[in-house]
């Protein structure tokens, strides 16, 4: 999402209507994207990505409060309460992950010249964070991330998009890709090569005409 104010950010979660299940899912998703973004901020020395991690950490705090309240209200019996308390334990763990991601971005405040070795280490990780530019000749241009199925097709998850000066973090499936977009992606080297060949127009995005019919 683009930069939003605190209230607008929270509106997106619709906490008044969200169920315990919705919030737990949200917390799992956010905690994982936060870790990726935290490493990305170090990798690309990006204050902006680091800022988003801090914002997400605040969001997590609200989600965490909300899930606790909702869980308490929904417990009817002792057994209910016991089960819900372990559910809250899972929520607390995802909050913990988000705090750890917050700690990682605090490294951005350390002296810049002390961090290059981190970038070097992250380049060797099993799953890497990389970036690529979407060229105008690519047939990914103008299509939605979800419609393309970028992650299932290439194994690469788009964790952020930089469009001009603006950032979009954890883009939604409905987001359309545009020529010139800088994609920050996470995955294997091999997946990166595959995605890059689509993004620079060397390869055509594969089409599976029968797929929808089969599913219907």
């Amino acid at each position: 999402m683009y930069d939003l104010g605190r209230e607008q950010r929270l509106d997106r979660y619709d906490l008044a209507h969200a169920t315990v299940r919705d919030i737990l899912t949200e917390m799992k998703d956010i905690s994982e994207i936060m870790v990726d973004l935290a490493y990305a901020s170090i990798m690309f020395d990006s204050e902006e990505i680091a800022e988003e991690v801090k914002n997400l950490e605040e969001d997590m705090e609200e989600l965490s409060k909300s899930i606790r309240t909702k869980a308490m209200l929904s417990a009817r019996t002792h057994k209910d309460a016991a089960k819900l308390s372990s559910l809250l334990e899972v929520a607390a763990a995802s909050r913990r992950i988000s705090n750890a991601a917050g700690d990682i971005v605090k490294l951005m405040e350390c002296e810049v010249d002390k961090r290059p070795f981190l970038t070097f280490i992250l380049r060797e990780a099993e799953e890497k964070i990389k970036r690529l530019v979407l060229e105008d000749v690519s047939d990914m241009v103008g299509r939605q991330i979800g419609e393309l199925g970028v992650e299932s097709e290439t194994g690469m998850r788009i964790i952020a998009i930089k469009r001009g000066k603006r950032w979009m973090y954890d883009p939604e499936e409905e987001n359309k890709l545009k020529a010139g977009d800088v994609l920050i992606v996470r995955g294997t080297d091999d997946g990166y090569d595959v995605l890059r060949s689509f993004a620079n127009g060397d390869e055509k995005w594969p089409e599976y005409p029968d797929e929808d019919e089969e599913e219907d």
């Binding site: 299940r21 372990s86 299932s152």
Partner: protein
């Protein structure tokens, strides 16, 4: 990369594997996987301590406190992630049956976990994970393989899949079906 860098890398990669395994244990109410997460946490605890100790030893040698500070902070943060994984695994261990909503939430997430048995005729048989480029082709990242009664956790690229293996993997929900079908032999690996 020097030894300290390699240790940090291992800490990072392992902490992420632990999270995947912890959610797998919850989703399938699998106490064995949960126990593995607990064991890994102990190992990572030690690893994080070693990293921090080495970093300090280097400050004394090289007088480069900036790098040591960064290393120590990072190791602590990553270790926190492994603690969180253990916290999740403990829910699997302590509960007879986790709250059904937990499973639904994991299934609804952007990244989910799936499990499939490799059936006779599957394209995966006899190939290594790296060679068939399973992650980039299927969108699913293998976190564990169960062969007979033993688990292989966080298999390397050279791990070869055999008939009868149960493969647990992590990825986007829309990749789940293709992965399942690859394991069952209903789908072929596309070139």
């Amino acid at each position: 990369m020097d030894q300290l860098d390699e240790m940090l890398l291992e800490l990072k990669d392992s902490s992420e594997l632990m999270i995947d395994l912890a959610y797998s244990s919850l989703l399938y109410n699998n106490k064995e996987i949960a126990e593995e997460v607990v064991l890994m946490e102990e190992v990572l605890d030690e690893l994080a301590n070693d990293i921090q100790r080495q970093a300090i030893a280097r400050v004394m040698r090289d007088r480069d406190e900036g790098k040591a500070f960064t290393v120590i902070k990072l190791a602590a943060a990553v270790e926190e992630i492994s603690d969180a994984a253990m916290q999740i695994a403990m829910v699997t261990i302590d509960d007879d049956e986790p709250h059904p909503v937990i499973r639904l939430s994991i299934k609804d997430a952007d990244t989910t976990i799936t499990l499939a048995e490799v059936k006779p005729g599957s394209d995966l048989i006899g190939k290594s994970l790296g060679k068939m480029r399973l992650a980039s082709r299927s969108g699913m990242w293998v976190v564990a393989v169960k062969r007979d009664r033993k688990y292989l956790y966080g298999p390397e690229k050279d791990a070869v899949i055999e008939e009868g293996d149960v493969v647990i993997s992590r990825g986007p929900p829309d990749a789940e079906k293709y992965f399942q079908d690859l394991c069952s032999g209903e789908e072929r690996l596309e070139e």
